[in-house]
């Protein structure tokens, strides 16, 4: 189901603003101070006469800002117009991923309507460095003709694990570009790219229902310019993902759908290259300490006993044998080899494409395998510092790249090539 890009009640607000060079969609919770900082940061941008900031009505903290959350029209802050906008709709029963996707589409549609040269979406909490990130994300779009600007957050070793374990290395191995946070969610998008997202002709669109997942693959397949901006550590807004299996299903499904859509593109790509980066990577200090992985390992062992029948439909016999061996290892010896994990991810992507079973079941049945990888990764990095973290993730990415021929073979000949 495709949500209406621009809600009717806010269309007139857009008409009042008339036009803008840059549109900024703020999805995260904010307060008046952070908005003022954002305005200040935007004022320093050169070559931008008018900026429209779409601030989410539902994200306004009513305790801090009771007037703004109910305002009917826009406010002016120099050359910046603050437009109240129902980006996220908590009253709808959508999943967080669908809700975020609708918000992105809404920002793209508004940018198109205002004739903007570029747009930015900020989903991280504004009280951190995020106001300044907007400027950093927008600058390459306006000055260097870049089409997609993605953030490179300072990495905590146990944060963004789904990105580290699947999303970033998978996008790198498929599309041949080393993007650390391909799904943002704080992103800068050029007019050229967002126009492809909001094309009226659905068949001409290069993305599906989930622009967050499709932006980076679409830009890379269309040979558009992508760059990274090194920013600080991200503060996550509270999101109710229900549970980890629901999270996996919501996030991986659009990524696997995109793999299917772009199969012709990624099968041509070979080795990966870094994308241009602005600034130096920010490192954070980590506390070295033990972590409890027993529950994750226990969950994997239980699933290995009960879900084998389901995994047998997806994974080849050799993988099942390795998983059986893994489940017999003690907690101290527990280690899932990267090569095994990579093959599992590829096999699930293939099963998703072939509809071996209901897709939601398929992705939810992957949860214990993912937890096994997390347990293994946590075991490796318990006492490690930032440099060890980078090396560990680089090893994983290389395992993805060296496993790509396996994916291509299985993708092309799913019935014949089954080791």
């Amino acid at each position: 189901m495709q949500a209406e890009p621009i809600p009717q009640q806010v269309e007139q607000k857009i008409e009042l603003v008339e036009s803008a060079d840059l549109v900024v969609g703020v999805l995260a919770e904010f307060n008046p101070e952070s908005l003022a900082t954002l305005c200040e940061a935007l004022r320093t941008l050169s070559g931008v006469a008018r900026i429209a900031v779409l601030r989410d009505d539902h994200s306004a903290n009513p305790a801090l800002d009771p007037a703004r959350s109910n305002s009917e029209t826009y406010e002016e802050c120099g050359s910046t117009f603050l437009v109240p906008w129902p980006l996220l709709r908590p009253e709808t029963p959508d999943t967080p991923m669908l809700s975020m996707s609708a918000a992105y589409q809404s920002v793209f549609a508004a940018s198109e309507k205002l004739g903007a040269r570029a747009c930015c979406v900020i989903a991280s909490r504004l009280e951190t460095q995020a106001p300044d990130w907007v400027r950093q994300l927008a600058q390459p779009l306006l000055e260097d003709d870049i089409d997609l600007v993605v953030p490179r957050y300072a990495r905590h070793k146990f944060e963004g694990l789904l990105n580290s374990s699947i999303i970033a290395p998978l996008i790198r191995c498929l599309y041949g570009r080393r993007i650390h946070n391909p799904l943002g969610p704080d992103l800068g998008v050029s007019r050229r790219l967002f126009q492809k997202m909001v094309g009226n002709d659905r068949s001409a669109r290069i993305v599906g229902e989930h622009p967050i997942a499709s932006l980076a693959p679409a830009a890379l397949c269309e040979n558009l310019q992508v760059c990274e901006v090194c920013v600080g550590a991200r503060i996550y807004p509270p999101t109710d993902w229900m549970n980890i299996s629901s999270l996996l299903s919501q996030i991986l499904s659009p990524i696997f759908l995109d793999m299917e859509r772009n199969a012709a593109c990624w099968q041509r790509m070979r080795a990966s290259l870094p994308v241009p980066a602005i600034g130096d990577p920010v490192r954070v200090t980590e506390d070295a300490g033990t972590v409890d992985i027993s529950r994750m390992v226990e969950s994997f062992r239980l699933a290995n006993r009960d879900l084998e029948e389901i995994w047998g439909l997806v994974l080849p016999p050799s993988t099942l044998v390795e998983l059986r061996k893994l489940s017999r290892l003690s907690l101290e010896q527990f280690h899932m080899p990267d090569e095994l994990w990579v093959r599992i991810v590829f096999d699930f992507a293939l099963a998703h494409r072939l509809r071996t079973m209901n897709r939601d079941h398929l992705l939810k049945s992957m949860t214990p395998l993912y937890l096994a990888w997390v347990a293994s990764y946590a075991h490796d990095l318990e006492a490690a510092g930032a440099s060890a973290l980078e090396q560990r993730l680089e090893r994983l990415s290389l395992a993805y790249e060296s496993g790509k021929p396996y994916l291509v073979s299985r993708w092309r000949w799913p019935d014949r090539f089954n080791p």
Partner: protein, 234 residues
């Protein structure tokens, strides 16, 4: 008197022979129709089997979301099931044609009753297929959900749910076929109630950890931290 008995015997033998001779062409036609239908059924089944095999029908069916059909098929192959179903239909048609050649009045009665019953059979088969698909779907949902909640009796729950739906579907199918409806109602009530009771006992006896987890989840709702400290997945 003896001559009278002989005469009656001769007359009845003649009548029997006349009737038998009259039936012979019909019986020959029945055998011929049966043989022809068996040959036709074999040819059709072979053609259909090869055609479906060349189309990778079994794999396609699994991809379209009907993997449970393989369970009901001979040698786990829906292709064989379709081919054998077509062959059986052709043989049944051959038998009906043969019976019509022996005694047309029997056929009309038989055909009438068979055709009147066909909607019930089709309905029952559809109910069974649908029930099997729903049972598979729900049992998988329960199994995966329960495993992800770290429940030790996930498989038991899943099997319980599957049998609940299968029993319901079989009872509905038998009701459709009008086979001993009173007994079916009673048996269904007992069986369904029994499964629910067994599940309630199983869940009740082992629900301590489930309730604890539910309460923990509710307490931490609004953040994704419950997935496991200190890990953040997105």
């Amino acid at each position: 008197m003896w001559s009278q008995v002989k005469q009656e015997l001769a007359q009845s033998t003649a009548r029997f022979l006349a009737r038998f001779i009259g039936l012979l062409p019909g019986i020959a036609a029945l055998i011929l129709a049966l043989l022809a239908s068996i040959i036709l059924a074999w040819i059709l089944a072979t053609i259909v089997r090869r055609l479906l095999a060349s189309m990778h029908f079994d794999q396609r069916l699994a991809r379209w979301g009907f993997p449970s059909l393989a369970e009901w098929s001979p040698l786990q192959s829906p292709t064989l099931l379709v081919a054998q179903a077509i062959a059986s239909l052709v043989i049944v048609a051959g038998i009906l044609i043969g019976v019509a050649a022996v005694a047309p009045e029997w056929t009309s009665l038989l055909v009438q009753s068979v055709f009147a019953y066909i909607p019930n059979v089709v309905g029952a088969v559809l109910v069974l297929i649908f029930g099997s698909i729903v049972a598979r779907f729900l049992s998988r949902s329960v199994l995966i959900g329960a495993v992800n909640l770290n429940l030790r009796y996930a498989r038991l729950l899943s099997i319980g749910v599957r049998w609940l739906v299968v029993v319901l579907a079989v009872a509905m199918a038998l009701e459709h076929l009008r086979i001993a409806p009173g007994i079916v109602d009673l048996a269904f009530g007992i069986l369904f109630g029994g499964i629910v009771f067994a599940l309630a006992l199983a869940v009740g006896l082992g629900s301590k950890d489930l309730v604890t987890k539910s309460l923990e989840r509710d307490a931490q709702k609004g953040s994704d931290e419950h997935i496991g400290e200190p890990f953040r997945h997105v």
